[in-house]
Amino acid sequence: MDVWFVGGRSALFWLALKSGFWTVLTLGFYRFWMKTRLRRWYWSSIRPGGHPLEYVGDPWEKLLGFFIAVVILTFYIGIVNLALMFVSFSVFQSSFIGYFSSFLGVIPIWFYAQYRARRYVLGRTRWRGVRFGLEKGAWGYAWRALLHWVITICTLGLLWPRMTFYLEKYKTDRTYFGSATLMQGGRWTMLYRATGPFALAVGLAALLVFWLVWLEPLVPQGAKSFEEVVGGFEADIDLMFDILDWQRPFRLFLILPVLLMMIYGAVHYRFASKRILANHKHSAGVQLNSSLNALRVSMIYVLGTTIAYAILVVGIMAIAGVAFALMGSEALVQSQLGTSDPLGDLPRWLSIGVLAALYLSVFLFWGVLHHAFVTYPLMRHMALTLSLLNVAGLAQVSQRARDEFAEAEGFAEALDLGAAI
């Protein structure tokens, strides 16, 4: 059974623009409606076997969830931050320890919120009238995730695939479609297949560092001061044609391609591991199959971000051009020189209002473009490459009870996690 994807980009663009406009106009309160509407649209685009998914989340419950999270988190963040700052300055005479432990303290809540948000979204998703669901277990997820992170950091990332696998297994094994549970099969070692490009990039980076630091030192041992080193570089730059001379500082430019390779490696791992994991997910009588292409996903990210950014820059230039035409060149030059304040004649609250509106509009437009050129093609690719190999088990599935959920995804919203869609 194939998955279709039916929505058009322009329809999404207008929906995102329209709801984003209301979000700015209502000082952000409409964002719960915006999120709901966009999810409804994306979900209804994804059609396994021609029947759309349905998102039944309610903006009001999201608003309620946000209020609940604010009540609980303000006390945590306000009082705890204050106490940490006090201890940090009293005992260590620096703010760093305070900030650091404040950051550490938020991490478990972060994992907790992540799981709760997933539970909420799955609990509000239906296909063919039947609900999905995720069992309770957010704190179990949080401490497991913490432990896996500690292990991963202690092994310098060598056991990263183990973390990916077990955290995904924790979530998948608790996922339901109606009465049917989903299961994550396979072993964690199978994810090493996805690490290829990243491992290669790390290897090259290590070689490069070895070469630059020990084999042919970039900074000669004899050089005493910073000036001498820079002077040495300048002498080298005169010999522009000697790029192929392997002892020159031009070797430094090799860092750039290696860095790009590492970024690609990270994206490749993320999506190739998703594909491998999906191919080992099954339920009684149903088997998932994914042919997600990590290279394609990288292209979507690169092209989508570039296009969105280009359009945004052109838009801002157009606004600046209109301002230039309206106010005349002198005003603009003067404001650049700081000799006049173009908003100086306005009352302070009005000029702040105008600037805030401009600032928010740029963010709004960036969000809309990101939806149209990154999220949309990504969702489409993920949907189209997914299929169900065997659907005999579907007839045995029956409905599950509604997951009542007072705080919805409030914690994720308050901690800025739910930014994906």
């Binding site: 039916v6 409804r40 349905e54 946000f66 604010v70 303000t74 009293s90 009238g129 039947v130």
Partner: protein, 384 residues
């Protein structure tokens, strides 16, 4: 679209009681099993219901009341619509032929939000919680903790805050606002501190800086930092006025007002960041920096610092009226240059503070100057 295979509809006369529609490609889901069911569709005008026949199922069919049928919103794609019925929130009818929709009057009517009372209660709790935190709990805790923070910790807090303020005033990406370093000028400030009998040479000693900025302002930071802007020194007409401001700020330091203030903002900054989200967070930091500079201390803290200044000036044989003079000068000067923020000026009871400073001076006494005229001109050149 195909015409309904109902021959009666072509006959002129009264509307048919029951009208058949095409169910081809339409599907019904009963809300229990994920198995699509083929349908026959008929509208019964007399009973105002949609009869959904389920030929392949053990159940004969279901009846949906026409005015309780709703269409799913924000659905992608051009073809087909999905209908739901308020009587059975789980069942869905995926409709291929939109011809039938004209018989359903309230397809797009929204549902009233559920649990308004609960929502209002939590909204109130959220606002009250934040207000209670920022207005009561954080200040209370900060005031208590400020008593216990050791001098070295206080100094570190002040140093960090001073760095942040210099950076914020210079703008992102630029080097921090320069400090004026003319030794003769700084020596005059030192001379004033000695004259005012401020604590010297210890851990808690007052450290005075001048920032090269035209703002007419001065502020105190935790750990004994007192910071003047160049604009303040330019605006003053006599060294006694600067000494008065210095004494006022030393009063804040002695009363630990800046430490309380810094601890308060450490508590509040996280809360505001939480509420406003990531992109507004930068604006919050800027706002709080301005708050630190314009330092709207409580009225009692201001009069406490004023009282301290009067006593210190009196002891140094300088008229306390100097504080009133510089306040008045600032009020006149800043009154016509809009937008300059100064905590002296923005304070609503400035006139009464001017009067209080004037009456603190003994009418019959002959006061002296805090430093000589040469020293005063050296101080004026502190940023050259």
């Amino acid at each position: 679209m195909s015409m309904p295979p109902d021959l009666e509809s072509h006959v002129a006369g009264p509307r048919p009681m029951r009208q058949l529609f095409s169910g081809i490609d339409s599907t019904y889901f009963d809300g229990d099993t994920p198995v699509p069911q083929t349908v026959t569709l008929m509208v019964d005008h007399a009973a105002q219901v949609l009869e959904i026949g389920l030929p392949g199922s053990a159940v004969a069919g279901v009846c949906w009341s026409l005015d309780e049928i709703r269409q799913l919103e924000d659905t992608a794609g051009q073809e087909g619509v999905i209908l739901r019925w308020m009587g059975d929130p789980l069942a869905r009818l995926h409709l291929a032929d939109p011809y039938i929709l004209q018989h359903m009057p309230h397809l797009k009517r929204g549902a009233p939000p559920k649990g308004r009372g609960r929502l209002a209660a939590w909204a109130f709790a959220a606002v009250a919680g934040v207000a209670f935190q920022i207005g009561v709990l954080v200040p209370l805790l900060a005031d208590r903790l400020a008593e216990f923070i050791p001098p070295a910790g206080e100094r570190a807090l002040g140093e960090a805050t001073f760095g942040q303020i210099r950076q914020a005033l210079a703008g992102t990406g630029l080097p921090p606002l320069p400090i004026c370093e003319n030794q003769d000028g700084l020596a005059v400030l030192e001379e004033m501190l000695v004259g005012l009998e401020a604590e010297r040479g210890t851990d808690a000693a007052i450290k005075v800086f001048v920032l090269d900025h035209e703002m007419i302002n001065a502020f105190a930071l935790p750990g004994g930092y007192v910071v003047f802007f160049r604009g303040m020194i330019d605006a003053a007409q006599s060294p006694n006025e600067i000494a008065a401001v210095l004494a006022h700020e030393v009063g804040h330091v002695e009363n630990r007002d800046p430490t309380r203030h810094a601890l308060r903002s450490a508590g509040s900054i996280g809360i505001l960041g939480l509420l406003l989200g990531d992109f507004a967070g930068g604006a919050v930091v800027l706002f709080l920096t301005e708050q630190l500079i314009s330092a709207n201390y409580a009225q009692s803290a201001e009069s406490g610092a004023d009282e301290f200044a009067f006593a210190a000036l009196e002891a140094a044989d300088v008229t306390p009226a100097a504080l009133g003079d510089i306040f008045e000068r600032l009020r006149d000067k800043v009154g016509d240059t809009d937008g300059v923020m100064s905590h002296f000026v923005s304070h609503p009871t400035l006139t009464s503070r001017i009067n209080r400073a004037r009456s603190a001076a003994r009418a019959d006494a002959a006061y002296g100057d805090i430093v000589s005229d040469e020293s005063w001109s050296a101080l004026k050149r502190v940023c050259d």
